[in-house]
């Protein structure tokens, strides 16, 4: 388990408990269990307290934790008959975006999401979850297919943002994102989205313009990264804590603003401490969202999605 910066005090206590037990293993006659158990209790309490009142900046760190379940983990655990489909039929297959068809229980679905990778090699292959135009065009193609075959679409959002690269710009990053958002709004099948980690700006919207958007408790969704915002508005990238605060990028704030519909509780200490429970919780939420939309006609689905976004922003946050 990789500790985050704000978890250092916790790391110390857990380290001490571990040390005691290691000592006891070396000296069988010493009895440290009572002391170690007290430390365990202290650590558990601290973990609970820490995660009950995470600051927005701390949530950004949790949302980016490398051990959090990623798109691939959800797909592997939740779907059967998973069949990845590749390519934008134009230029390339973007590995930052996973897409394909599979079954959620018995129901055939299309799943699309950004995948960040889990080790150095896969992170590079996946471009850290930052899609290029081909990724959005793959998504567009798969959404069109879902529409043709009346399959609900599930999108899993986890990206620092669209890739700011030379080739990406040359090949129309803006146009690809715009078209992907447009396709989200057009399809006559239920589109449900879960922000599982980072919902980074336009790169996230292109997938998350959905009938229902759920968000993991400690994930974040923002127009700009706190670091980027700080360097522009504060002229100092080190002011990311203030920026994270001001941007209102947490699940609670976004629910109050009507931007997301549901919050999925994370296990104590965050998704990274119990991946299985997190994946199961997301699975329940996705099934429920899809189920509740499945009675609607194609027209109703399109109309309600459009209406939702047209009306968005009618409520601000309480003072």
């Amino acid at each position: 388990m990789q500790y985050l910066e704000f978890e250092k005090p916790l790391a110390e206590i857990e380290g001490k408990a571990e040390e005691l037990r290691a000592m006891a293993r070396a000296n069988p006659e010493t009895n440290v269990e009572k002391e170690a158990a007290a430390l365990d209790k202290k650590a558990a309490d601290m973990l609970g307290t820490l995660y009950k009142s995470l600051s927005p900046w701390q949530k950004c760190q949790v949302a980016r934790h490398p051990d959090r379940p990623h798109c691939k983990d959800y797909i592997e655990a939740l779907l059967t008959d998973w069949t990845p489909l590749a390519g934008d039929r134009n230029f390339a297959d973007d590995q930052a975006v996973m897409g394909g068809i599979g079954r959620l229980d018995d129901r055939p679905v299309v799943v699309i999401g950004q995948e960040k990778g889990h080790d150095t090699q896969s992170r590079i292959e996946r471009n850290f979850g930052m899609a290029r135009p081909e990724g959005y065009r793959k998504a567009i193609r798969l959404m069109e297919m879902a529409d043709r075959f009346s399959m609900p679409v599930v999108t899993l959002v986890d990206t620092p943002g669209a890739y700011p690269g030379k080739g990406a710009e040359e090949r129309g990053q803006s146009e690809a994102i715009a078209r992907s958002t447009e396709m989200c709004l057009k399809i006559g099948v239920p589109l449900v989205s879960v922000i599982i980690g980072e919902g980074g700006s336009g790169g996230a919207v292109a997938f998350a313009t959905a009938n229902r958007v759920a968000m993991l408790e400690h994930s974040v969704y923002s127009v700009i990264s706190p670091e980027g915002c700080a360097s522009i508005l504060w002229k100092d990238a080190e002011k990311m804590r203030e920026a994270a605060e001001a941007l209102r990028l947490t699940a609670d704030d976004l629910k109050q603003l009507g931007v997301i519909d549901r919050i999925v509780k994370e296990p104590k200490g965050g998704a990274q401490r119990d991946r299985t429970a997190t994946i199961e919780a997301v699975g329940r939420e996705v099934r429920d969202m899809v189920e509740k939309l499945s009675g609607l006609s194609r027209d109703e689905i399109v109309r309600e999605r459009r209406k939702k976004f047209l009306n968005m922003g009618s409520k601000g946050l309480a003072a």
Binding site: G165, S174, A178, V223
Partner: protein, 316 residues
């Protein structure tokens, strides 16, 4: 002869000077450094007379140049909640808004109007880069929705002039939500069978480019306009190399298939008229179909037709 030189010029001069402080009679071209006298610059539609650099132009000035006789009607835009997030950086967001309102004399970063261009009825929306970098927040979203609804109600084409540094960060996620919101709006126009034409002006970047600015039936850009998703500085930091000359400029985007046309500001009106009339199935506009000048010269019988505009009701 250019219609602007014989008809609109005296009015434009007064308009441009209204916005510029009297002491500030000279503007330095940011591209070539030439000092330009404000009157000369205004006469040239805010285009540098030395290097053709297209400088910013306020939506109101643009509309006065675009619409016949400089006449147009503002389309009302519903006022959104001000400062929904209670955002504060080094300044309070409402203070930044007030300062921008004072500096521009406008309510927000987008102006919507209806009127006629060469007797072709249109709805137009123009983004104001001088208002907080033209940034897209709730108001800009509302403006585009209002423009789209008006275009659909009047069965007119929508022409949108984009100019923005991107999203209005002070509205956080709600500024991001303008990407889908404005997409719904422009799709309403398209689904009504009406043309949606985007004129991308310098600069059009970020979430604006990645939504309504890239969804037009026709994309026209002003010369050398910076048009991008990620800005050149961000890209240079990411890939750690210098970008080539002209990267992400209008001509470059034209080469890469993202635009239909790159058009000089002085030719823009004629082009927009021609394109909208073609797409709307209207006959060609009649040249010079402008309202009569305030003090028309008596028509000499032998004078060629374009010297004085014919009667305005000649079209359609």
């Amino acid at each position: 002869m250019n219609w602007i030189s014989n008809y609109v010029r005296p009015r434009i001069n007064s308009l441009f000077s209204r916005r510029e402080v009297p002491e500030n009679l000279w503007t330095k071209c940011p591209e070539c450094g030439t000092m330009l006298f404000h009157r000369e610059l205004a006469d040239n539609l805010n285009v540098c007379t030395n290097c053709d650099h297209h400088m910013g132009i306020s939506p109101r000035d643009r509309f006065r140049l675009l619409f016949d006789g400089g006449i147009f009607t503002d389309v009302p835009v519903p006022q959104p909640t001000t400062d929904p997030l209670h955002f504060r950086d080094q300044k309070r967001y409402p203070d930044r808004l007030k300062a921008a309102q004072k500096a521009t004399g406008e309510a927000e970063a987008m102006l919507v109007a209806e009127g006629e261009i060469s007797r072709t009825p249109i709805v137009a929306a123009a983004q104001d880069f001088s208002f907080m970098g033209g940034s897209m927040g709730m108001y800009v979203g509302n403006a585009i929705i209002a423009a789209a609804e008006r275009a659909v109600a009047l069965k007119r084409p929508l022409i949108l002039f984009s100019a923005a540094g991107g999203a209005r960060m002070q509205e956080g996620i709600l500024s991001l939500m303008q990407m889908p919101r404005t997409t719904v709006a422009v799709d309403m126009v398209k689904e009504a069978g009406l043309p949606y034409i985007v004129v991308l002006t310098h600069p059009t970047t970020g979430g604006v480019t990645a939504s309504y600015a890239m969804l037009g039936d026709v994309h026209i850009a002003e010369p050398n306009a910076l048009i991008c998703f990620a800005g050149p500085r961000v890209i240079e930091q990411t890939i750690r190399e210098k970008l080539p000359e002209g990267f992400q400029r209008a001509e470059y985007l034209l080469d890469h298939g993202m635009l239909d046309r790159v058009t000089h500001r002085r030719d823009l009106k004629e082009e927009l008229v021609r394109i909208t009339r073609l797409l709307m199935g209207l006959p060609p506009a009649i040249a010079g179909d402008l309202p009569k000048p305030e003090e028309p010269e008596p028509l000499a019988p032998a004078e060629p037709a374009e010297a004085a505009p014919p009667k305005a009701d000649a079209a359609e």
